[in-house]
């Protein structure tokens, strides 16, 4: 029961933190940068076939 109480209170705090964005989210820019890097690496891998 003690374990559950500790767990429940942590879950409540984490969900509250999510609402308040206490842990900064990935932004659109972050996703765009990730997509660009992914495409560049993919092109690089494809380029490797011609070496």
């Amino acid at each position: 029961m003690e374990t559950n109480k500790e767990l429940e209170s942590r879950i409540a705090e984490v969900l509250q933190a999510e609402k308040e964005n206490k842990i900064p989210r990935m932004t659109k820019l972050d996703y765009i940068i990730a997509a660009v890097i992914t495409v560049i690496t993919l092109l690089g891998i494809i380029g490797g076939f011609f070496l």
Binding site: T3, N4, E6, L7, E8, R10, I11, E13, V14, L15, A17, E18, K22, I23, P24, R25, M26, T27, D30, A34, I37, T38, T41, L42, G44, I45, G47, G48, F49, L51
Partner: protein, 883 residues
Amino acid sequence: MSRKHDVNKEIENEVYCGTLPVLPKERKYGFIDALLVLSGYCIATWSYTQGSYLATLVGFKQLLIGAFLAAIFMLMIYQLPVIMSARYGIDIWIWLRSVFGPAGNKIVTIIIIAVNFPWYAVCCELFADSMENLLGLFGIQLFNGAHLVLSLSCVIIGTIIALRGVGTITWTTRILVPLLLLVGVAVVIVGFTSVPMDVIWNYQPELAGDADKTVNYVLSIEANFAFVITLVGGMAEVPRLCKSERSGYYAGVLGQGAAGSFFVVVGAVMAIAMQHVTGQMVDDPTLMMATLSAPILGLSSLLLVAFANIGTQAVGSYIYGVMLKSTFKKSSYKVLVLVLGIYVALLCVWGKITEYFGSFLTIGACVYAPLAALLFVDFFLVRKQKIDLKSAYELPGHTAYRYTGGFNIVGIICLALGFGFTLVIYDPIKGIIHNNWLFMLTPTFASFLFTGILYYLLCKIPFIRDYVICKGPDKRPFDRAKTPPRQNLFFMPFIWLICKFITAPYKLKIDKHNMDGIKPPFLVYGSHNSFMDFYVTPLALKPYRANYISELEGFEAFGEWIYRQVGCLGTRKFINDQMLIKNIMKVIKRGDVMVIYPEARYANVGTNSHLTPSIAKLAKLLKVPVVTINMQGNYLQQPIWNLKERKGARLHADLKCVVTQDEIGKLSVDEILSRISKELTYDEYKYQLENKIKIDDEWRAEGLHYPLYRCRKCGKDFAMTTKGSKITCKYCGDSYEMDEYGQLHSESGEMIHIPDWYEWQRAFVHEECREGKYKLDIPVKVWALPNSVNFVDCGEGRLVHDNSGFSLTFDNYRTEKHETLKFPSSSMISLHTEYDYRGLYGPCVTLSTYDDTFFIYPTDESKDVFNPTKIQFATEFLGGLYT
């Protein structure tokens, strides 16, 4: 306090704290911190093995592309879901419960460890190689089998360190990472200075005659995909400690993709340099340094590499031991670490892990690729970045991820098909390519795509999507105010046909009395014996359609739409449901027949319950004729205490108008009640005996101990058991045989009428209540039924019943509090009981509020003192139904 106790306590604490969500204020890592930690994990000595393996496949330029670009490409995709770990402070092992279910997650954990742990056998092999090579350099010849002894000694020492627990592992890690960095720096310096740069830059492997350059390049990309994807198991616990999603994500990508890959390239440089100098490709940094620089440098590096391999083995045993412990909570940490040690030892005894390095990498990736795809698609496309944390942690009443017996069948099938799909493309053991086109995508990436698309498409199918998403049980209360539709006209022929078909074997006979000229609207009160009542009544009322009152559990069992179409009004038992009265009035106002079973519960022993004046008051309120339907044989055909059908039963029904339209305004409530009660008085065993209805099923008495729970001889409650046609006291052995006409016979020849025994028991309960001695206080299991859709598991609670009424203490899902609901005795004239609910769940009683019906079952601890009949007797007495 003993050392043993210390370690166990530490591990318990580690497991406990290691699984709880990490709060924002507890986060330790920024991007740089997380990058260093993850880099440290990636630069184990196996990086050299990976590097030298790649050097056997492709030239240096392609090797660079594979090591960096392929690794980063795969990491950019499969690391994306770790933003969930950072957001909620949980690791992927908790989250995987939503993808596979808690039980499925256990199996997946074992599979992951099984395919991952050969990495540690590689460490042990490297340790043994280093030792052998260096001893050889000093001219020391080893005996046969020395290699195995050396590799096993690495396993043993690593396991012993892991067994010593958290403190030792922390110190090991602190020493291990700098040592590995030191070795790496030494290898880089020696590797790049001992051979000309252009030798390395222009390196091309010597390929066998039938080897294809393109295939080798694909294999090298595959090896890099597999290398980074299979390391996720050990790295899964870091992102939850990060202060932002971005830092968790990019640290994962660069920790493996840059730092880890750099050491892979270092391993390749070392191998290329060794081949250039000695003509032999090796993956042992010790041998390389001894050969390319000086033996003394090799000797120094031996100590570093030896400790590094043992340390890696120890840290691996610890990480996966804790992971297993968090999954199998009851198992001992030490036993789990020993099992892991034995597993690695067996791989060492096999001795071919280095030879099959590429195969084991691909097999590992066969599992990890679909797993990564499921995580990606599940989080971003199916759940739209929302996870039910309470269900993931299996908190009481939160069952969204319980799926089918703890397994998410869809997730597991996709994982299995994704695994199979890889094998369809490529055989990693024999190195045979089955499909050239798909092989160009690499087996790992093809499997990733296949599994992701399959899972996504499956989740587009509505019923699968509902199953997978499972937002948790629907907790919205049933809409009691919703106007009930008329019985569907198109359904009527089918309803009559089905009713005819089901009642035909029992030769149903219906007699109608005073029914001439009685046309809807009118009110019907019926006796209530079994589900058969719902098949007999429509036939008796034919050609009119009717509406029926039904407890919500029927809606849940058959579906709300069907129940609405057959004209049912949903309610909860033994509450003052004003909405129900309004709906009854609507039914009558629109000119239909309203059927009510006023006893509100099946007859326990085939006899009627007392009726209350409220039913006569309702009749006066509605101002319509009152008809009764008294059904005989329905109880005999399927008594509530044993739901097997008795083929020998014969059905009969009397439909009678007891109050005409003219009389309804003139008669008093008592007069109306008297007429209804008279017509709804019945005794099924008397009916059976008088009509010589023979029921000769051998099991005919089984279950009778539920209504007849008290021994007539020794007077003990909950004493009776039944088998075949006998009911016997388990204490004094007093026994009765149930004959084929429903009468009980003692061994001494006494004949007992079952309802007499039943009523005899009731008197004792009344006496207990009068004397204030009646009290039930037991642990129970509670399930709530809020609506027509589903039950909600409320876990274990406590039920207290005494003269003041019921108190039910439990985790109330509606308020999310552990609280006590009170049901005063004066508010309930009876309660609903089941002896074996739906033939599956055993005995229970129900208590209702306006928005919930609580089904209350005994636990293993209380099952011997939980008897619905006795609870019902007390409730009816305390509620004033009997005085």
